[in-house]
């Protein structure tokens, strides 16, 4: 599938901002199953300084600085992306999950770097609740992908997608308490269940192409950025799971960046110098099939 993705992030402040410094992760990755054509990041008011570089995880991060006074800051990313269906290796997917811990597979070429994605991170601690919850799917000897899919089904069934049910400071324990959250929470929760059993998994940030409701026109800008997870499968692949939608992340998913958790790859973050009291955030995402 080919898409044109337009991702606009707008901050509106109630007073002048003299300087904005930002870092954006809004550039789709070049991957075996994903090709990026034309791509552009535009900052308005114009950035006096804008610079793209590759980060520790291989993501493209764009630094920008605006030093003219402004009350509205808009960061727009436009990308042409082609996503292919990934061919999976059934044999690798069927390995017993216990044999898929990087710690026990040092002979696998990328096990050392996958190890980073087993360790706890600030937003994804190895919470006891998550370990226990994960144990019901990770039963002894179960094939890796089957166990992971089961975990995804259960999370989708047990937790409700609900905006406002969580905040940026919600912990894994809070999520178990609320039994609800947004895609980012679903991803963090799934990561905690997998990592606390020694498996390696990434937090993935990107976009999901949606179909309009039957009989309706596609509404431009109604999409949003999305988050899911990717599980390390020894043998060279990662299995992308979307617990929010209970499906594998296939060719409708555009991958922009991955890391340990949300904090490694927020689409846009930054620092302002201003006396402003409030800010309004508006995010518009449009993933248009071409």
């Amino acid at each position: 599938m080919r898409y044109q993705v337009r991702h606009t992030t707008t901050y509106t402040y109630d007073a002048d901002v003299s300087d904005s410094y930002g870092v954006a992760h809004v550039t789709p990755r070049e991957l075996p199953w994903q090709h990026v054509g034309r791509h552009e990041v535009t900052v308005d008011p114009g950035a006096t300084d804008q610079w793209a570089a590759t980060d520790h995880y291989g993501n493209t991060r764009t630094y920008f600085q605006v030093d003219e006074p402004h009350q509205v800051l808009r960061v727009e990313a436009f990308s042409e992306v082609e996503v292919l269906t990934e061919v999976r290796d059934d044999e690798a997917d069927a390995q017993p999950w216990e044999t898929c811990r990087p710690a026990g597979r040092r002979e696998v070429v990328d096990a050392w770097s996958a190890t980073e994605l087993v360790l706890r991170s600030d937003l994804v601690p190895h919470a006891a609740l998550a370990r226990d919850y994960g144990a019901d799917s990770l039963t002894p000897g179960r094939p890796l992908v089957e166990a992971a899919m089961d975990l995804m089904h259960r999370i989708h069934a047990d937790f409700t997608y609900e905006q406002g049910a969580s905040t940026v400071t919600s912990t894994i324990d809070d999520l178990f308490e609320a039994q609800a959250g947004v895609c980012q929470d679903f991803a963090h929760l799934t990561l905690a269940c997998l990592r606390s059993h020694g498996l390696a998994a990434r937090y993935v940030s990107g976009y999901l192409a949606t179909d309009p409701p039957p009989g309706k026109e596609r509404i431009v800008g109604a999409d949003a950025s999305h988050a899911w997870v990717a599980l390390w499968v020894p043998g060279g692949t990662w299995l992308a799971l979307d617990p929010t939608n209970d499906q594998l992340a296939g060719e409708r998913y555009v991958t922009t960046a991955w890391g340990r958790d949300y904090a490694d790859v927020p689409p846009v973050k930054g620092v302002i110098y201003s006396e402003a009291k409030t800010s309004l955030l508006d995010v518009e995402v449009d993933v248009a099939p071409v």
Partner: protein, 819 residues
């Protein structure tokens, strides 16, 4: 001393611990070679002499204002034992070679971890050890790939029972302590000059020159005259003294994050309305706090965009951001192998035996020995030191890779002065290694400390002897002596603000002291005669004091009241509080001030402790007088400063405060009328407090009348205490500030003030209505109001620093799909 000490060492100890290596006495009771050479000079150092020397040490340290604060505690005086640790050239040699190798090795590990990570891919280092360490900053990977991120490192070393050196810990992030080491040497060389002269030891100054050269050479690109700054977390930092000492000795301006700004991916220093490019940042701020954009967002100590500037290679940070990752305590067991892989040579200097518990075999070995080992997290995130407790094993098993177990170190011992003479105490030496030219060079010397718990530990000077008398100091021949490296004035707004407050608090402390002295004199004479003219005058002055600083005491508790005004740092308006604020302001601009400033604080502190220890009433005046003498000495110090913008801000601050103090003093004293005798006493006291009594006597022949007092204190253009004089002074100085245009708000307000003063008529001011002088009252109130608006305007126009960084509101990726 040596005789006493040998006897003390020979005392059998009751505990079962194996004997420590003694730095002075060999097991057979003979002196070690380093001390044998010193024995002659040490003979005179008996217990009494050492006690005297020790008192000198305390005085020198307090005169130099050397302080240190333990994390989370308020600053205390730096402590220094008078007996140095002395090491012969021969004993030092293996340590020196080992430390140079170690720095090279840690540097090579850093280059790999922030670059190709071959050490992880090939299993030389376990990935958990690095990825699980808080000092590994992913944001810094993929930069320009500095070849030498580790420019200066420190290692804490000690000796095993057999005298072999071993490393307890490395400091590779922002190592501190070299300033303290320098200061220790400065003090010890003064208190035991004979010993120092005869010892044939390496002077430390040339090493500082090497450090300075290394920092300048670190500049990226082709800058011909690179700008190097020292980035400090501020005067509240634990090692603020060390930072300021290093900055001023090396001649680099001491800056804080808010003094710097990133534009176009380049770091600049805000220098009064323009930006000057910064090439090298010697950082004393923890890496994680250096950039609120990419690192810790809650940090106010950093520079927004610094990581980006580093990534583009436009600025060099020393040590490189993220270099703290090799402080990792869990690296120890892997260093030998890493050394073979990276340097192709065996590791020369071992670490203390350590077990990384992420290795299941090591964990099994350690499990039964938890009690006898020191357990730490690899990144020392547990602030209270070694871990203990019932749930320790549970915590380790949950995340074994985060823990390390160390054998208890077996410190060597050296003589230290205690209450009963010299006694053996366990010691550790912090060593410093810098990359100079193409090699790492270790300081021949160091910062010794006595291992004791509780208070601020006592430090010791470390003497490394020369192998032959003609050996060059530090064996550095090629470094040029530092001439004239006075820090180029970094007149950033923050520095000017501190200077401004320095001027204000110095004046405020001085004026309060004069008031206290006057009040105490009156209380001595008249407290038992409240109805005499003097007694009524005392009441007027007491009320004045209470106006300045609300009092918790009864009106007749004079001594308590005055003592608390002098000593209570929590009482608003007290001398102690003004002095504390003055000290904070001075500390923040330490690199800009003459060291004599600290002698002033030393004298004030000594006067304060004398008063605190004495219950005698006359000690109030005595001590306040000594404090006043000390504060007055500041004028001399300020007088000899460069006439730069910093000096101008001190002058403006002082002029504003003086005017404020004068009009406050008139308010409630001269503005009211009492009996003729009482008024005469009150007026005399006012003149005395305003330090104008002598002038008055000369001008008015001792005939004290309100008109004369008001004229002298408000209008006299020649009296340095008068409002008119100080406004004229402020106007002159203000005009020379770069931001002044002739019509800025402070200048306009000042002109208004001067106009207001000119319009006042002396004759009308002293007119009496009932018990008051309403015109004077009115004038005093108006002038006070204008003065504070003027002061605010000065701060606003000349001093406002950068605003604080705040986060964009974080967006969350949200996604809704119809179920």
């Amino acid at each position: 001393m040596l005789h006493d000490y040998s006897a003390a060492v020979a005392q059998p100890t009751l505990n079962a611990e194996p004997a420590r290596y003694d730095e002075v006495v060999a097991p057979d009771g003979s002196l070690r070679p380093a001390w044998k050479a010193l024995a002659g000079a040490a003979i005179g150092l008996d217990r009494e002499e050492l006690q005297r020397i020790s008192a000198d040490v305390v005085r020198f340290l307090s005169d130099d204002g050397v302080r240190y604060s333990r994390p989370g505690e308020s600053p205390s005086w730096w402590r220094l034992d008078p007996v140095p640790i002395v090491v012969s050239a021969e004993e030092w040699a293996p340590l020196e070679v080992g430390l140079a190798q170690r720095a090279e090795l840690l540097n090579a590990i850093l280059v790999d971890l922030y670059g190709p990570q071959t050490l992880l891919a090939t299993g030389v280092l376990p990935p958990e050890l690095v990825f699980g360490h808080g000092g590994f900053l992913r944001e810094l990977r993929g930069g320009p790939g500095e070849q030498h991120p580790l420019l200066i490192s420190a290692s804490d070393v000690t000796r095993t029972a057999s005298g072999d050196w071993q490393v307890l810990a490395d400091r590779t992030g922002a190592p501190s302590g070299i300033g303290y080491a320098m200061e220790n040497r400065r003090v010890i060389s003064r208190v035991v000059p004979e010993l120092y002269r005869d010892a044939g030891l390496h002077r430390v100054a040339p090493f500082f020159q090497a450090v300075r050269a290394a920092m300048i050479d670190a500049a990226p690109g082709e800058a011909s005259d690179p700008r190097v700054v020292l980035l400090s977390p501020g005067p509240q930092s634990e090692t603020a003294y060390d930072q300021a000492f290093v900055a001023s000795s090396l001649g680099f301006p001491l800056v804080q994050g808010s003094d710097l700004v990133v534009r176009d991916g380049i770091v600049w220093m805000r220098v009064f309305g323009r930006l000057e490019r910064v090439d090298v940042i010697v950082r004393r701020v923890d890496s994680a706090y250096t950039d609120p954009l990419e690192l810790r967002g809650d940090s106010h100590l950093g520079v927004t965009g610094l990581v980006e500037a580093v990534r583009r290679g436009t600025v060099r940070v020393v040590n490189g951001l993220g270099s703290g990752v090799v402080e990792n305590l869990g690296l120890a067991p892997f260093l030998a192998r890493a050394c073979e892989v990276l340097l192709d040579e065996p590791l020369r200097l071992p670490s203390i035996r350590s077990y990384w518990l992420g290795d299941p075999d090591e964990l099994e070995q350690v499990r039964p020995r938890l009690e006898e080992l020191t357990i730490r997290t690899i990144d020392r995130t547990d602030p209270t030191g070694p871990l203990t407790g019932d749930d320790l094993l549970e915590r380790i098993e949950a995340e074994p890779y985060r823990f390390v177990a160390q054998e208890r170190p077996h410190h060597s011992q050296a003589p230290a002065l205690g209450p009963f003479g010299v006694q053996p105490e366990p010691v550790v030496i912090r060593t410093f290694t810098v990359r100079h030219g193409s090699a790492y060079r270790t300081l021949l010397g160091g910062l010794g400390s006595i291992m004791e718990t509780g208070r601020v530990p006592r430090s010791k000077d470390v003497w490394v002897l020369k192998s032959r008398p003609d050996e060059p100091d530090q064996r550095l021949v090629e470094v040029l002596p530092m001439t004239n490296v006075r820090a180029p004035a970094a007149m950033v707004p923050r520095v000017l603000e501190d200077m401004f407050w320095f001027g204000r608090y110095a004046e405020r402390a001085e004026d309060t002291l004069r008031l206290v002295i006057a009040a105490h004199g009156l209380a001595q004479d008249f407290r038992s005669r409240p109805w005499s003219a003097g007694g009524q005058n005392l009441r007027v002055v007491s009320r004045k004091l209470r106006d300045l600083s609300p009092s918790p005491f009864e009106e007749d508790e004079f001594d308590e009241e005055l003592r608390s005004l002098l000593l209570d740092p929590f009482r608003p308006g007290s001398v102690a509080q003004s002095v504390a604020s003055l000290r904070d302001a001075a500390q923040a601009v330490r690199d800009q001030l003459s060291p004599d400033v600290w002698r002033v604080f030393g004298a004030i502190d000594r006067a304060a402790s004398t008063l605190a220890e004495s219950a005698l009433s006359h000690e109030v005046t005595n001590s306040a007088g000594r404090m006043l003498t000390a504060i007055s000495a500041l004028h001399g110090v300020i007088d000899s400063m460069m006439r730069d913008d910093g000096w101008r801000m001190i002058m403006v601050g002082r002029a504003i405060e003086r005017c404020q103090q004068v009009v406050r003093l008139l308010d409630g004293t001269v503005t009211e009328r009492r009996g003729i005798d009482v008024d005469r006493d009150v007026l005399s006291t006012v003149l005395m407090i305003a330090e104008s009594a002598v002038t008055h006597r000369r001008r008015y022949r001792g005939y004290v009348r309100p008109a004369g007092v008001v004229e002298l204190l408000m209008f006299d253009p020649d009296n340095p205490r008068s409002v008119a004089f100080n406004l004229a002074r402020a106007s002159e100085v203000l005009r020379a500030l770069p931001a002044s245009t002739g019509s800025t708000r402070p200048e306009r307000l000042l002109a208004d003030l001067q106009g207001e003063l000119e319009n006042l008529e002396l004759a009308s001011l002293v007119v009496i209505e009932g018990e008051r002088r309403p015109h004077l009252q009115q004038a005093v109130t108006t002038v006070r109001g204008l003065l504070s608006r003027f002061a605010d305007a000065v701060v606003e126009v000349h001093l406002v620093s950068a605003p604080t960084p705040r986060s964009f509101d974080l967006p969350r990726p949200v996604r809704e799909v119809a179920p």
